[in-house]
Symmetry: C2
Subunit: 170 residues, 2 copies
DNA sequence: CCAATGGTTCAATCCAAAATGAACAAATTA
DNA sequence: TAATTTGTTCATTTTGGATTGAACCATTGG
């Protein structure tokens, strides 16, 4: 069969405007700093800048991501309250719009992602406090001092987190 | 030369006490939240709990990490001021001790790791503000509203960062 | 009832960041 | 000077989290 000159590619250039791409890039950068996967940021970013709710299909097509990524990404964003499902009549597909209140977003993120870690740290510090007594005399004093420091740092963190939430959402 | 029966293995079980391991684990958890590689946290953690400065050799042996990791890790920690080189007489190797002032640590981390990103975001927002005018009438209004939001979020962030630093180091 | 559509799940794959270790350089000691 | 010690660099390898896509389920419509 002659090669034909190809339908192979049509790399499907993204169907995103330059403006949209840049807005999305903004969210990608932020999500990196928060240690979240890129596809989440892409989905949220596109919904954020879109003037009307989008269905999963739209996200797959415009962002060129897989069904799996789209489905999982939307689930996560729904769970943390960053995205809200919307029913559009005449279409059985669920559409989504971005929740854009920073206070709510930050609060959810902190309580869902950070709080569990903070709790884990707290437990570990408690364990350490118990065991510091069993240490050989030589190192005990130093270990106790360091442990006190860790506890103080931890208290600082706990104190500041709620404050940050409050300040963010004004 | 006959093989001699060797010093091949002795897998060198970690030479870390349970207590040390747990302290190190604490730092590993924290560094994860900050998106830093595990080996950094291990190095800092061991130095933090060690009552006296350690040489690179010690870190390699006790943490079972490679020379490369140790060297690069120490370089990074030195750069952000988390670790301080110490000269011990009678030993030409450089030893290191942990810098344990939280204020300094947090400040450095924020200004080295976060500030550049924040600056990047700022530039991007400026570009977006320029281009929003060229948008087709239909979407312009919505895009402008969203952009205003992004700018406000950004201002919030800038406002809060220095405050967090101040509050952390009391 | 069957076919088509919308959506989820999860094992396999991909990939970027981290870790390794060999090669190298510089300082030290014998 | 040669041999050893201390440390850095960087090309390769490893690894874990992100992404994919095939298999599957549920609902709707013909």
């Amino acid at each position: 069969m002659p090669p034909m000159h190809r339908a192979k590619a049509a790399p499907a250039r993204s169907g995103l405007t330059a403006f949209e791409r840049e807005v999305i890039e903004h969210f990608v950068e932020i999500s990196r700093a928060l240690g979240q996967p890129r596809s989440l940021a892409e989905i949220y970013g596109l919904l954020f800048i879109s003037p009307r709710p989008l269905a999963m299909d739209d996200l797959i097509e415009r962002l060129q991501i897989s069904k799996g990524s789209a489905s999982q990404g939307l689930r996560f964003l729904r769970e943390i309250g960053a995205v809200r499902p919307v029913e559009l009549d005449g279409d059985r597909r669920v559409h989504y719009e971005a929740v854009a209140e920073l206070r709510r977003l930050a609060g959810r993120f902190l309580s869902d992602q950070l709080a569990p870690r903070v709790a884990g740290n707290e437990r570990r510090l408690a364990r350490l406090a118990e065991r510091v007594g069993e240490l050989p005399e030589t190192h005990r004093k130093h270990a106790e001092a360091r442990l006190t420091m860790l506890q103080s740092w931890h208290r600082n963190t706990r104190r500041i987190l709620p404050l940050v939430i409050k300040l963010l959402g004004d």
